[in-house]
């Protein structure tokens, strides 16, 4: 009998991350990385107070957690699988820990911070 894979855990997070990345990231990147620095958006748009109060409410917390953590899982999963695609097999377990470890940290850190805000 074949062994059950644990992929469903990582794949679900990957899938959720992919959805977030597709439905939100292009606009988010545009806003934070392009529109705001180039002054297309007024500087107040992401002012500290505004964002801080956004991060204090539950919807804001959830949103921020989702856009930070889930894309990281998506990214970690793809990078890890791509190593296999590229034929890089050395240090496979180390890479696994590195990829998914980063994503895990990227989940725990905002989680703790957001709870405390």
């Amino acid at each position: 009998m074949m062994k059950r894979s644990n992929e469903p855990v990582f794949w679900s997070l990957f899938g959720a991350g992919g959805v977030v990345a597709a439905f939100l990231l292009p606009m988010l990147i545009f806003i934070t990385g392009i529109a705001l620095p180039l002054g297309i958006l007024p500087p107040e748009a992401l002012a500290y107070d505004r964002i801080h109060s956004f991060a204090s409410g539950w919807p804001g917390k959830l949103f921020l957690l989702a856009v930070i953590s889930l894309p990281l899982w998506q990214s970690a999963h793809r990078i890890f699988l791509s190593l296999h695609d590229l034929g890089i097999h050395r240090g496979r377990e180390f890479c696994r820990w590195l990829c998914y470890g980063t994503a895990l940290l990227g989940t725990l850190i905002p989680l703790i911070l957001l709870i405390r805000i």
Binding site: I31, I79, G87
Partner: protein, 130 residues
Amino acid sequence: MSKRRPYVRPMDGWWLKNPYYVRYMSREATSLFVGVYALILLAGMVSLACGETAYNNWLMAMTNPVSIGFHLAALAAAIYHTITWFAVAPKVMPALFLAGKRVPDIAITTTQYAIAVVLYLGLFCMVWRV
């Protein structure tokens, strides 16, 4: 004695051998940008938690031309991700049936684009509404 000697071709460099594979690898490569961007957001999050000065420094750093360059590239990558994601989503979702007929893939993909446009505009307006 059998003279059979099946020949197995090597796989190295496979991803360059077919345009389809190049597109696939590019799709996978978008995850690098997605990951780095998420880490940048994480940095912003941390700075937000550290207080106003830290946060403003983070905002400041975002205006660095290198940063803007990166974000332009990341935007392109994110859009490519979005296009490819919507294209394959109908293959992952359970098959939808309406009135006994399979909903065609193209209908599902189009619907996703419509939702995405609404979300993009909503997000932009939310931020804009100072």
